[in-house]
Amino acid sequence: MLAFIVSRLLQSLAVMLAVSFLCFALFNFVGDPVNNMVGQEATPAERAEMRRDLGLEDSVAVQFARFLGNAVTGNFGKSYRLARPVSDLIVERMPATLELVAVAALLALAIGIPLGVLTALRRHKLDSGAIMTFSLAGVAMPTFVIGILLIYVFSVECKNWAPALGLPADWCFPSFGRGETVKLGWWNTGLLTASGLKALVLPAFTLSLFQMTLVLRLVRSQMLEVLRTDYIKFARARGLTNRAVHFRHALKNTLLPVITVIGLQVGGLIAFSIITETVFQWPGMGQLFIQSVQFADIPVMAAYLVIVSFLFVVINFFVDLLYAAIDPRLRLDRAQVGMAGG
């Protein structure tokens, strides 16, 4: 087991190095931050001097080595755009993204699993058909369209239809921002205020819709398969209630692959949140990244990509461990492959 873990760790490290080097090679194409950093009156000589000061004249390899040397000590440099240490910026923005992702993942499970069970049990009924059609939209529609659509219905047009339904006029949802936040140490949370929770609804739903439909479809197909197995027939033959058969025996056995898939999808949620954060002006890491790309703010882009790939690697690492814990055969095979390869 130890050899397996070590080999996986080494692989993870190699992935991280490769990702960060690729990032640096790509930064050559995002352009020159210097024009954004000085006014249009600056002379060509002043621009050149600033470029030298920032180390932009050095080769990619030198810039990369310097970045690695600093990153190892936790120093990601200073943002070109905001003139503040990158680590401060990331620490400030991370809670917003993680809260959004956590709530979106919870929503995906809390809505996806029951609807998946429901559609499996009521296969040929009208409501199941409706849900399956709706889930197709969830898979097919791009995130930003969903976001804009939700803003249109629940915050712009809402003023017109909410009173007609007897809801108070301020029932409508905000279209941007995070609402009031509370500081718990360095963690800036929106989960403890009413306006913070309200602001979370539309972005979290937007972000979760894709995963929600994925979970729904996964649970449904697993459930259909399990319901055909012998032990379910046997359970029915024993005279157990439908409830016990469906939820104790069938659902339990469908959930294992679902949990694994969701684990892997959390990384995807963090990456996808860039679009959701942009649409809803959610002050998270994704938003920071997009602003940095437009400014060619290389230190922030580098730090963001390294941190996100780190999260991905960590999640995949634990999913691998989980797999190994569940299935001893896998453990053995993988360790051998890993050793041979690495």
Partner: protein, 535 residues
């Protein structure tokens, strides 16, 4: 059935929870708050470290300059009551008495001297504005002398851009120099500000929310009695979200709604727009100086060196079609590369050559290009209103006279460095004039590039006319207003005749707001909320 019941129950629960959740927001009705949004946040609150639009717009509410601009952009007394030359190279500024910083300390000539020296230091982004200053001297607490390197008739135009900080406050917080990228940590002035202006900073959460509240000790309280007690600013990057926030009443004012949404905003009850010509002109630059174009299929000679070719291109562009189709009528076709509001601009000069495809074809044939030629057009896609679409339209129009455009649209982070490396044969550029004087246009765009003299820094056309260079140098120093105006007029006539740039249009600014808000529109696109009111 199960589903329907479930959904209904959830909806009731959610509605109840949210109804309870929103009661906290209504009680602030007494203090008048104006909430506004635009695309990007101020980069820093340090008033001398970033010469950038959003940054200056924000900081001008907390800090003030010696000279302010009123809504027509005319110079009006700010922290100085009057200014005049007392020798050919000395400007005397008489300061406003009894002004206090918002921390209660008095404002004196020492603060002016300190702020100018700060703005002149190497890490300042405003040093180019005031590089002609040799020395700033405090004569007495309310008199300052600015000594320039030779006569400088337009110094007051530049001093309206230099914001004044408190010497004591800056020294106390160790920010006597503007932030520099060499500093390891952020400086105190990045997120804190303390000036003499109409507002003080209550909350600063960069990229999220900035709250300014009325400065109780503001000297102009009598002159401006009704401006909002509180300004809440939220940057909203996504244009559709910004418009949604305005329509749904979450903000009262949007600086930069996309042009295609203006009609929708105008139709919405309770919303209105204000528009004016912006001090920014859009034009094409042509590399007429190189012996051979870098990106063209014409070898051994430069077609742009021939004025007939430049004029043919000019006359083949149907600017009214661009105005109607691309700009949705939010542009003013231009014959000059500078806009109304700039000293030296006249309507008579701002006339376009007529749109004439047949004449243009004739000119091309006379110049020896009856079948046209191919050339690459470099264009930004995130800098000016509808910039990429303008270039696409032009490519189609020039095809009519045989010029085959290879359009390269890029982000501004790639476009401008490409120009600065002189790596472009034909490019789109826009030019704003912060000093509101024509000299600024000539010295950057028309003078022969000369690094030692620091002139011609944005002239990537290779255009070089000794007459133009002499006129531009002379108008910088001429103190006789009539003579100087003549020089400016002559220089514009020369610019129009030599045609190194093909003028396109002046941008229009449209501000969108709730009809509870009144604010005069500023042609420099920087709202000054001390002129605003909100019901």
């Amino acid at each position: 059935m199960f589903v329907a019941k479930f959904v209904a129950r959830m909806a009731v629960l959610a509605a109840a929870a949210l109804g309870a959740a929103s009661f906290g927001t209504a009680s602030l009705a007494e203090a008048k708050t104006l909430r506004w949004a635009s695309q990007g946040d101020a980069l820093t609150l340090d008033p001398h470290s970033q010469n950038e639009g959003s940054t200056t717009a924000m900081n001008s509410h907390v800090y003030e300059a010696l000279i302010s601009r009123d809504p027509s952009l005319a110079k009006v007394p700010g922290l100085a009551l009057s200014w005049k030359t007392i020798a050919s190279d000395v400007w005397e500024y008489k300061l406003r008495p009894d002004v206090k910083f918002s921390d209660g300390t008095p404002f004196t000539a020492d603060d002016v001297v300190f702020s100018y020296n700060r703005a002149l230091s190497p890490s300042s982004d405003f040093k180019a504005y005031i590089s002609s200053i040799k020395e700033v001297k405090a004569i007495d607490p309310l008199t300052v002398h600015i000594i320039t390197d030779g006569p400088n008739p337009i110094l007051p135009d530049y001093t309206s851009a230099i914001l004044i900080m408190s010497k004591a406050w800056s020294e106390k917080h160790n920010v006597a120099k503007p932030q520099s990228f060499k500093d390891k940590e952020e400086t105190y002035a990045v997120r804190n500000a303390m000036g003499t202006g109409p507002y003080t900073v209550k909350q600063r959460d960069p990229d999220v929310r900035t709250v300014l509240e009325k400065n109780p000790t503001y000297w102009g309280a009598q002159q401006f009695p009704n401006y909002p007690d509180e300004l809440v600013y939220a940057p909203i990057k996504e244009p559709a979200t910004r418009v949604a926030a305005l329509i749904s009443g979450q903000v009262d004012f949007v600086l930069d709604a996309p042009l295609q949404d203006i009609a929708r905003i105008k139709q919405t009850p309770g919303l209105k727009t204000e528009e004016t010509a912006q001090v920014r002109s859009i034009f094409l630059g042509l590399d007429m100086g190189s012996p051979e174009l870098k990106y063209s299929d014409v070898k051994g000679k430069n077609p742009f060196a021939d004025k007939r070719v430049r004029q043919a291109m000019y006359q083949a562009i149907d600017i009214n079609a661009i105005k109607a189709k691309v700009m949705r009528n939010f542009s003013a076709p231009a014959g000059l590369t500078t806009a109304p509001g700039v000293h030296g601009y006249t309507k008579e000069l701002d006339q376009r050559l007529k749109y004439d495809v047949a004449g243009a074809k004739q000119l091309m044939a006379e110049a020896g290009y009856p079948n046209g030629f191919g050339v690459t057009l470099d264009c930004p896609n995130d800098r000016y209103n509808n910039d990429e679409q303008i270039c696409q339209a032009i490519a189609g129009m020039l095809a009519q006279i045989g010029i085959r455009i290879d359009l390269q649209a890029r982000s501004k982070t790639l476009h401008f460095p490409k120009l600065q490396k002189k790596d472009s044969s034909m490019y789109l550029l826009g030019w704003g004039v912060p000093t509101l004087d024509s000299h600024y246009v000539f010295t950057f765009l028309y003078q022969t590039e000369d690094a030692a003299k620091k002139v011609g820094g944005w002239n990537y056309t290779g255009y070089s006319n000794p007459k133009m260079d002499a006129l531009t140098d002379a108008m910088l120093k001429e103190v006789d207003q009539a003579k100087r105006d003549k020089m400016i007029a002559d220089a514009w006539a020369l610019a129009v005749a030599d045609m190194p740039y093909l003028p396109l249009h002046h941008q229009l600014i449209v501000w969108s707001m709730s009809d509870k808000v009144t604010i005069p529109i500023f042609a420099n696109d920087a709202p000054n909320f001390k002129y605003s009111t909100i019901k």
